[in-house]
Symmetry: C2
Subunit: 275 residues, 2 copies
């Protein structure tokens, strides 16, 4: 059965979106649609242009016999900024205030409306870099890890602070909780990471940075490599942070239980060089 150009366009768009960061040989499409490679190339030129125009992402073309095309999800700086400002507003809602000055985030981190752009924006940082896995710590980091992994099309691994018999052999590290200065333990299943794997760390919240630092130690224990670390929100911390070189989408500047206010501004994510 022959496909019309418009039908090819629809299915190719779907196929590319479903397989981000995957090199797709042109022969796959030409066989799928019983079309000449030259027609497929023309189709892809139109798709590439529309993906760029509509800020869907990049279509990368790799020439040669072993070449093909690759869809790379990307968010424009402007779209990222708008999303982060929208989040600032959402987070500033005094209804989110919890006893002890905590901020309720679970609804945001359980909503596809937030998680989809969030994952795409965080993944956009690594478009030029090889990433093999996304790492986070249970529980709240998981949705972020999953959405980032989805856009990078790599697995995500979950570090745990409690032991589970369903994880098999694990590797554990001790880390100093930055805020309380207590020594705690976190562990990851031995099977989760290969030696040399290039790993992106994500988490929901950072105060002192102890948890992030613990994950960095774990990556070292696996003889893997840290590519970058991003947190959804950080809070102002008056002390020496355990980590540097992280990105945060949001910065919680001040929480006042008495005044019922939460002051939130964009984190360092959009800055050219993180502080």
């Amino acid at each position: 059965m022959k496909y019309k150009r418009s039908e090819r366009m629809i299915d190719m768009t779907y196929y590319l979106l479903e397989h981000p960061h995957t090199l797709i040989p042109l022969t796959l499409f030409s066989e799928r649609y019983e079309a000449a490679k030259s027609s497929i190339s023309e189709d892809l030129t139109i798709i590439k242009g529309t993906f760029k125009e509509q800020h869907i992402g990049l279509i990368e073309t790799v020439p040669g016999a072993t070449g093909g095309v690759r869809y790379i999800p990307q968010v424009s700086e402007k779209d990222a900024e708008e999303f982060i400002l929208w989040l600032c507003e959402k987070l500033s809602d005094s209804e989110r205030l919890l006893p002890g000055g905590y901020v309720f985030l679970s609804d945001l981190l359980g909503s596809p409306e937030v998680l989809k752009p969030l994952g795409k924006i965080i993944a956009s940082q690594f478009i030029d870099q090889k990433v093999d896995a996304v790492m986070t710590v249970a529980t709240k980091g998981i949705p972020i890890a999953q959405t980032v992994a989805n856009y990078l099309n790599v697995p995500f691994v979950i570090v745990r602070k409690d032991s589970k018999i369903t994880e098999g052999a694990t590797v554990s590290v001790n880390y100093v909780s930055g805020s309380s200065q207590r020594v705690e333990k976190m562990e990851l299943s031995r099977r989760s990471l290969k030696k040399g794997a290039r790993v992106v760390i994500v988490d929901d919240f950072m105060k002192g940075g102890g948890t992030l630092n613990g994950m960095r130690s774990l990556i070292e224990e696996f003889e893997a490599e840290l590519v970058g670390a991003t947190v959804f929100a950080e809070s102002v911390f008056h002390g020496k942070r355990a980590v540097h070189n992280y990105r945060s989408l949001l910065l919680i500047e001040d929480v006042s239980v008495a005044d019922k206010t939460i002051q939130v501004k964009p984190g360092n994510f959009l800055q050219k060089e993180p502080e």
Copy 2:
């Protein structure tokens, strides 16, 4: 700027895929592309046909002034069966065997390759039903809840067996762990569910069904409504199960640590009526 039909097709496909289960008025598209509604209608007819042909899902048309189109992710029975059989093979790998007869699943539940079809398949069950939220219990159920919620385009909520200060006020229930017969406690943030919300339960694994039953009690406490329950895998259980009317994708029939074998077959998911 005017868009060519092929450009419209690409962007409309993207837009529909990004907004599942959302009624999109035709005017949104006709304004977005500065095109007549009649042209948009023709475009959508082609998209509808291709989505059906390529098993991407349904495009539902709602006529009238308040109408529009809606993309409903759907997996064909054949594709679902193939995926489940592929999972059976993956799960039968004796390398997954852990001490105590447990089966290692974390790699599968951390892989986009598994989670995407899994979410789409589970969501396919509820195409005719209103769903307001997906519920699961931490930790292993989270990736499943997130992918199902993504395809249903609703939030997911995470029940916890440990208390967290970042959840605010919670509602808790006691439940009997089906296998050990111990009484345990699970809780959910008071803000997570509205009265009357229609809820889908998912989890990674079921033995006696106690956890699923606990979530059912929680739904009752919230005066919400259970729409359906699906687990990734169930194991054979020689006793009275605490739940009925659940779906399982996989059934772990037998695990022999001595023989190093795991016997897995499809669960009741594909059956017309669950046992």
